[in-house]
């Protein structure tokens, strides 16, 4: 965690040309991919409606579904653990590793393990985790956190990746050519193949928990999840409790909207379906543990932001957010970023001076809600956080004063009209004085005119014109 707050981190990001370039590229890529998938899927909106209802049902039925999941997974031979918070989950995970003498861990990308900061904890207990999703592997080598929930290294260029690999893979020929992406992918493939086959334990997250059969469903494009879950003798999955759905019919619909919304694919390249440990002469780990993680989720379920638990982590709200695509994920200060992160992070970390800034990082343009595959009303949830932050006295004195003045004016139409009339007159005068455009303003207006001129206000206000037309 940096010492800067959201505003400081965002300002720094906006002045990083490498980052803003990478973000601009990614934005077009993801938004176009989703639009193309939507266009070739006539049933897309129907699938979204059904996925929306499925996820709302899952929230309403969550305690029952979790108990059913636990019973079925246990019957299949898995061990199910419950973790109230991050510390619980970390202790359970390291406890399992120690009980099995596991010191070499391979991991597939898991936002839940980022959330509980599992890797540092494993290391401090003598267990070495190796991230195997290519993006996660790159940022692990760089000591960074993911900047996007499905594309963790979205902020980097191939040259930065090559530099990282040269620094990390010191056993390889320093003169080798890794200037092209294909060579980088191949190098990581070879390096990580060794790690897969040597590991004692595979640690994964979970995209969906299917209560009907006690099954964990995971998606990837690289195949690293299949290897993580099948190559070592021990498997640990860490899943947020909200991931549960009732049936395979539900899971099928969620998978269809997830792949299309995330990467514009009809189906993720690898869907990994795990039920209990290997039995008899089956291939795979003989021991399977599932850690169900709460960490603020049950509290979220009780309040006016419960719909956030419907989130399936596709990243579409990030990819379509004018704030995220300008400042990137690191500005949000936690593993979750963009609109979903701005709702989730205060719930997980608590509402503080810093996290209270996140719900303000929105123009309420509504694109996030428009593209969300499960129609989460993200702008409304952000508004609820702003209300909570105000009630908790978190905004600064200046912000509270400003809001107080705004409220006084907007609840008194005569005062509003008078203020607007005199402000418009004042601005029209300034504009005339400065040669037809407003070029410089004092006080709060200074920032606004620092980089642009403003046209003078219209002679008649919108309200006056509206009255005239009725």
């Amino acid at each position: 965690m940096t010492t800067l707050d959201f505003k400081g981190r965002a300002a720094k990001a906006l002045h990083d040309p490498q980052l803003t370039g990478a973000l601009a590229r990614a934005k077009g890529h993801f938004a176009l991919g989703r639009a193309a998938a939507k266009a070739r899927t006539p049933d897309f909106e129907m699938l979204r409606d059904r996925a929306t209802a499925i996820r709302r049902r899952s929230i309403a039925l969550m305690p029952d579904l979790l108990e059913r999941f636990e019973a079925r997974a246990t019957a299949a031979g898995a061990t199910v653990h419950w973790a109230a918070d991050a510390a619980d989950a970390r202790a359970i995970a390291t406890g399992i590793c120690k009980a099995h003498g596991a010191t070499r861990a391979i991991k597939s990308k898991s936002m839940a393990t980022e959330e509980i900061e599992l890797n540092a904890h494993l290391l401090s207990h003598g267990i070495t985790p190796v991230e195997t999703d290519l993006g996660e592997y790159i940022i692990q080598l760089r000591g960074e956190t993911p900047s996007h929930i499905i594309a963790p290294a979205v902020h980097l260029t191939k040259d930065q990746v090559a530099e990282t690999f040269r620094a990390a893979h010191t056993d390889l020929d320093p003169a080798r050519d890794i200037s092209e992406r294909q060579a980088l992918v191949k190098e990581a493939r070879v390096k990580l193949r060794e790690a897969f086959l040597a590991a004692d334990v595979g640690i994964t997250g979970a995209n969906i928990l299917v209560a009907e059969t006690g099954t964990i469903v995971l998606v990837s494009n690289e195949g690293n999840i299949d290897l993580t879950a099948s190559a070592p003798r021990l498997h640990i999955a860490i899943a947020g409790i909200e991931k549960v759905v009732e049936s395979w019919d539900d899971a099928g619909i969620v998978l269809r909207v997830l792949a299309r919304s995330a990467t514009g694919q009809d189906m993720s390249s690898y869907v990994t379906v795990l039920t209990g440990p290997a039995q008899g002469d089956e291939v795979g780990p003989r021991t399977s543990h599932i850690i169900l993680l709460d960490n603020g989720r049950s509290t979220l379920a009780a309040g006016n932001k419960a719909e956030m638990l419907a989130c399936i982590r596709c990243g579409a709200c990030l990819n379509h957010c004018p704030v995220y695509t300008a400042v990137g994920g690191h500005a949000y200060g936690g593993p979750y970023s963009g609109p979903m992160g701005a709702v989730l992070t205060p719930a997980i970390d608590g509402l503080t001076k810093d996290t209270a800034n996140l719900p303000n990082a929105s123009s309420f343009c509504g694109r996030c809600e428009a593209v969300c595959p499960v129609r989460i009303p993200l702008p409304m949830l952000l508004r609820h956080w702003r209300e909570d932050a105000y009630a908790a006295g978190l905004p600064t004195r200046g912000e509270r004063w400003g809001l107080g003045i705004w409220r006084a004016l907007s609840t008194r139409p005569w005062a509003y009209r008078l203020t607007q009339w005199s402000a418009a007159r004042g601005l029209r005068f300034v504009s005339w004085w400065q040669g037809g455009r407003i070029k410089r303003l004092p006080f709060a207006g200074r920032g606004f005119t620092a980089t642009r001129d403003i046209a003078p206000p219209a002679a008649k206000s919108f309200q006056a014109q509206w009255r005239g037309r009725r």
Binding site: D43, L66, R189, G223, L227, M267
Partner: protein
């Protein structure tokens, strides 16, 4: 209080509006599941062909691999075919080890998405798709399902296997500059051979 009781207790403290159960999604199945499977697989960078008899498999595999690869891992149930006549040397699947090419039957396939299904119950497990550079999948037409839901129901029986691996096209990644590269961890190339 245990974490389990704490979590379930908190969740039960709030009553949420319960939406009606959702109708399952059952898109209209294509008339020819094999043709649909092949078309969808080709759309995600796989290749596909059909043979009229399993006896033609070694010749088809030799054609696909070209002259550079002559030794490949062959699943036990396909070992009896006339591989040497096609100029190929069949090896037993090496288990958890890398291989240049591997040919094995799949336990199912999904026409809607061009997906192959491998399972922990097979003696060779998921390795032909994950550890071989080229995965040649033998797909008996009778094992193709229209949808994911249908395939899972068919494979579940009394109990689902430890793992089902649903693989759609070769392994890929967009993690470096959001540019698609094939062969991240799993198969670099996937070839479907439909059989009667």
């Amino acid at each position: 209080m245990s974490a389990r009781d704490l979590i379930l207790g908190r969740l039960r403290a709030t009553q949420h509006r319960l939406p009606d159960p959702v109708a399952p999604y059952r898109p209209e199945a294509p008339a020819d599941l094999g043709a649909a499977l092949a078309a969808r697989a080709r759309a995600v960078f796989a290749t596909a062909e059909e043979i009229t008899s399993l006896d033609d498999l070694p010749a088809a595999v030799a054609r696909y691999l070209g002259p550079d690869i002559t030794t490949l891992a062959v699943a036990a149930e396909l070992r009896h075919l006339a591989w040497s006549a096609a100029g190929l040397t069949p090896a037993a699947p090496p288990g958890r080890a890398a291989m240049a090419a591997s040919v094995a039957p799949v336990v199912g396939a999904i026409a809607e998405t061009g997906t192959l299904i491998l399972t922990s119950r097979d003696p060779h497990g998921p390795w032909p798709n994950l550890l071989a550079d080229r995965h040649i999948a033998v797909v008996p037409r009778g094992l193709i399902s229209a949808t994911l839901e249908e395939a899972v129901a068919r494979l579940a029986g009394n109990r689902l296997p430890r793992s089902l691996h649903l693989a759609t096209g070769p392994s890929r990644t967009g993690d470096i500059e959001q540019t698609l590269e094939l062969g991240a961890h799993g198969a670099v190339a996937v070839h479907l051979v439909l059989t009667p």
